[in-house]
């Protein structure tokens, strides 16, 4: 029980990172970038290629992976963002979904569909026991990284001028331009922050899920579901959504067996949305637009 709770919080933290990536782009530009999951896959695969195949030091491989992820996300932004903002949200979602489909199929062309194991960055040295669970360095490092990142992003969103500008950009991009906020720059910052979050999520999830081109889709979808559960319009609730899902998943595995883990999130999501149409803490004001 305690073990599953702990494991659930770990995965939940990773979902929270992904949910936050969606939320940052959404709260700034009003666009759901459904390619996020595949960006995670790209980050993981490039890092893997750099370190395992080319023999680069892991940290340089990671930097390359991050750079490429950021670059791809900027290409998506440059190619489509201004158009997406004019489309209705559903069409925009389908367009970014297609970008994701292009990325995953492109990934198949480059890396094939076979999987490989992904090295843990900080090793899996056992530290202490929690019930029957052995807590490793990987776990502790995950907790620290997730905690620090979530804290920093939250600070940026709620304390820094940058966060205020992003909020303002969400409200009315044109008006922001008029009062001297560089909208192109703010949108780029949002996309870059999201891409960096994707890279971090990638190095945390890949040692568990392995390095193959299929890891992105499900993580991306679950992260999005977590964002929706909390309410996409608010970074903090996206984080809580991620944690709820992580815990729900592993507790369901504990009580109902492993098979149920794959669907429990989506059952919970359907029930909660049926009761609260904009997520647990979503703002109803945006209900019509979203």
């Amino acid at each position: 029980m305690i073990e599953s709770l702990f494991a659930g919080l770990l995965t939940g933290g990773i979902y929270a990172l992904v949910a936050l990536a969606y939320s940052i782009i959404y709260t700034t530009t009003r666009v759901v970038n459904f390619a996020i999951g595949e960006l995670i896959m790209i980050a993981a695969m490039v890092t893997f290629t750099g370190s395992a195949l080319w023999g680069l030091p892991l940290i340089s491989a990671l930097v390359i992976g991050c750079a490429i992820t950021v670059l791809i996300n900027l290409v998506i932004k440059a190619a489509a963002l201004s158009r997406l903002q004019k489309l209705d949200p559903i069409t925009a979602l389908l367009v970014t979904l297609s970008f994701g489909l292009l990325l995953v199929t492109g990934g198949q062309l480059v890396w094939g569909t076979a999987g490989a194991s992904f090295p843990s960055i900080f090793g899996k040295i056992p530290l202490f026991n929690l019930g029957s669970l052995i807590v490793t360095t990987q776990d502790i490092v995950t907790i620290i990284i997730v905690g620090v990142i979530l804290f920093v992003v939250d600070l940026i969103q709620h304390r820094a001028i940058l966060g205020k500008s992003m909020q303002a950009a969400a409200e009315d991009q044109e008006a922001c331009g008029v009062v001297g906020i560089n909208i192109g720059w703010i949108n780029a910052v949002a996309f870059n922050m999201a891409a960096i979050l994707c890279t971090i999520a990638a190095v945390l999830i890949a040692p568990i899920a392995g390095a193959n081109v299929r890891i992105g889709t499900m993580v991306g979808l679950k992260g999005f579901a977590a964002g929706i559960l909390g309410g996409l319009t608010n970074g903090r609730s996206a984080i809580v959504g991620g944690l709820i899902f992580g815990v729900a998943e592993s507790l369901s595995g504990y009580f109902f067996g492993g098979e149920s883990k794959e669907s429990i999130i989506f059952v919970v999501l359907m029930i909660i949305l049926a009761i609260r149409p904009t997520g647990l803490w979503g703002e109803t004001r945006w209900q019509r637009e979203a």
Partner: protein, 608 residues
């Protein structure tokens, strides 16, 4: 070269000739196409291609079902392959594992798909946009996981094999005879959707998608419509799934994952989401492309993605819509700058006459606050039958808020509104409309691409409609109701003097005429109270005169009219009684002459 429908109206002889000619050409094409499809098995002797043809037809049905929800209703569903899978698996499991007769298994499976569609629709009826899309994805994933989680029944990831085929008139269906059955199913589903498209259900659904608020205020339950569309769609796609299971003889859950729902959506978008033949065209193209790609099937996703991107961003009407537009542009001749004749308003109805001496509407001490702002404070007024009651006040006085409370958009925080004795509390706007409240909007809220007469039918639909089953099956009632609704639509247009513009897409009418169209539409709910919100804004003097006459004619039928307006000259010449709001408080009421002299009113308008 033929002419635009609007001009055909000018010559009924020409119209009947061209319509008859068009209809017989169309029947000829349909007959030829059916003969062509029937003879296909003789042409394609290769069973491999026959199988693909059958799959394409079934996906054509599935995509058609999705287009009903996505193209018509504007509701994106990324869970339709889940519904398809439910149909397929229920029928397969019941017939193979439980040994039920195949026919019964098939019927039960279709019913279960419809039920699942109903559940999905209920749980998502209040959702919009990405939230709705996510719920449908979640539904699809739950379905695919359920299939995997019951290996005893579904053989899980390995997939089911040896699903029985069935006897039809003592003849065990093989690959070829299955083709005819599937062809029949495809034609029937096209026929049903064609009937839907030519009924007022289609017009109301267009309004649901383009102007949901207006749709609601014209007496149509918006969530109810969405649920209905979903259920019809689920039954059709469930039927396709059932046929798929028994035709293939084997099933794998891989065919029903949520990314397959994306492929289904690509089919709809490719062919044309609002075209009858669009989804089938898209399905045929996407099913046959992999054959030519040979071994590269796993890279088909690139093709799907590029298709979705191209057709969403460049040609949102899809292939068929694109062809149709080109065809129409070549044929339709539309001269610019034509003026539509305004005829004298003629309106005479009996339902509101005599008897009723009670007020139509009583607003009693209504208070409405938004956060810290009190928009209305203890406002009371009552409106008598056959009275033109004007509501005036400076900008931000709360006039529109009061109308929104009266029509059920906002619940009052205090007090009550009674319409002919019935409280509006707890009633949604569509129910209040049915109590006899019609309204227009400050910004005309009409479906631009529908004709004027078609826009009328949005408000008539709740009274003159065939049930959805009669409509889909094309029963006599469908044709009767269609004719009745059309003729009443023309009557309403005649009433406001715009019969001349009946067959013109309403978006092409000048702004002032669109306001008249809105009044005509509101008459469709058979109002006892007609609320007109700034009807005179932006009207030319001649149109203003016409409007004035029109409102008087409507009043003479015993209908009460509430006018919100800023044009004082207009108000003073037409109103029987005036109420004045300022900062959410009713500061005066009385006859026009009294209001003109009222000091509080002058102060509110001119400042103290």
């Amino acid at each position: 070269m033929s002419v635009h429908p609007a001009y055909q109206a000018e010559s009924s002889l020409w119209r009947s000739i061209s319509q008859r000619a068009g209809a017989s050409w169309r029947s000829l094409w349909i007959v030829l196409a059916i003969i062509g499809f029937l003879s296909l098995p003789a042409v394609i002797s290769n069973p491999y291609y026959m199988r693909f043809l059958e799959i394409a037809a079934l996906y054509g049905i599935a995509a058609l079902a999705l287009s009903l929800v996505y193209g018509k209703g504007g509701i994106v569903s990324l869970g339709h392959m889940g519904l398809f899978g439910i149909g397929a698996y229920i029928s397969a499991v019941l017939s193979l594992k439980f040994g039920w007769p195949v026919w019964i298994a098939m019927i039960v499976a279709v019913v279960v798909s419809g039920f699942a569609g109903w559940l999905l629709a209920l749980s998502s009826a209040r959702l919009v946009g990405v939230y709705l899309a996510m719920t449908t994805v979640a539904f699809n994933i739950v379905v695919e996981r359920l299939i995997v989680q019951f290996p005893d029944l579904t053989d899980a990831a390995a997939g089911m094999i040896n699903i029985p085929t069935f006897n039809l008139f003592g003849h065990l269906l093989d690959l070829e005879s299955f083709y005819y059955l599937i062809l029949l199913a495809w034609l029937v589903s096209l026929y049903m959707v064609h009937n839907f498209n030519t009924s007022s259900w289609n017009l109301v659904t267009n309004s649901l998608r383009e102007t949901p608020t207006a749709c609601l205020f014209m007496g149509n339950s918006v969530p109810g419509l969405k649920v209905l569309l979903f259920v019809v769609s689920a039954i059709i796609i469930g039927g396709a799934g059932v046929l798929f299971a028994h035709m293939m003889g084997r099933l794998n859950y891989n065919n029903f994952t949520w990314d397959q729902s994306v492929v289904l959506l690509a089919m709809v978008v490719l062919g044309g989401k609002r075209e009858l033949l669009g989804p089938s065209t898209g399905a045929a193209i996407l099913i046959f492309i992999p054959i030519f790609f040979g071994g590269l099937v796993e890279y088909m996703n690139i093709v799907y993605a590029l298709i979705i991107l191209f057709f969403l961003l460049v040609t949102p009407t899809g292939i068929i819509g694109w062809i149709r537009r080109g065809w129409n542009q070549a044929r339709v001749f539309l001269p610019q700058g034509r003026e539509w004749k305004l005829t004298h308003p003629v309106y005479s109805v009996n339902y509101a006459r005599g008897g009723d001496t009670r007020p139509i509407v009583e607003v009693v001490n209504v208070t409405k606050t938004f956060g810290g702002l009190t928009a209305l404070r203890n406002v009371s007024l009552s409106i008598q039958p056959g009275q033109i009651h004007a509501l005036i006040g400076p900008n931000g006085a709360g006039k529109t808020t009061l109308v929104n409370v009266m029509t059920g958009l906002y619940p009052p925080d205090g007090g009550d509104v009674r319409i002919r004795g019935t409280s509006v509390r707890g009633k949604t706007p569509d129910k209040i409309a049915l109590l006899g409240v019609g309204r227009t909007f400050q910004q005309p809220s009409l479906v631009a691409e529908m004709t004027t007469a078609e826009n009328m039918q949005v408000a008539i639909h709740h009274r003159l409609r065939a049930g959805i089953v009669s409509t889909l099956l094309g029963l006599p009632r469908h044709h009767r109701m269609r004719a009745a609704a059309r003729s009443e639509a023309l009557d309403s247009l005649h009433a406001v003097g715009l019969a001349d513009a009946a067959n013109v897409p309403v978006g092409q009418l000048p702004h002032g005429y669109q306001r008249l169209v809105e009044i005509a539409r509101a008459l469709g709910v058979h109002p006892r109270l007609l609320i007109v919100d700034e009807p005179a804004a932006g009207l030319a003097p001649k149109e203003m005169e016409h409007l004035q006459r029109l409102l008087q004619v409507i009043r003479s039928n015993g209908i009460a009219i509430l006018v919100i307006e800023h044009n004082m000259e207009f108000i003073m010449s037409i109103a029987d009684w005036i109420s004045v709001l300022d900062f959410g408080v009713r500061i005066a009421e009385g006859l026009p002459a009294e209001i003109q002299r009222n000091e509080a009113v002058l102060a509110a308008y001119l400042g103290e």
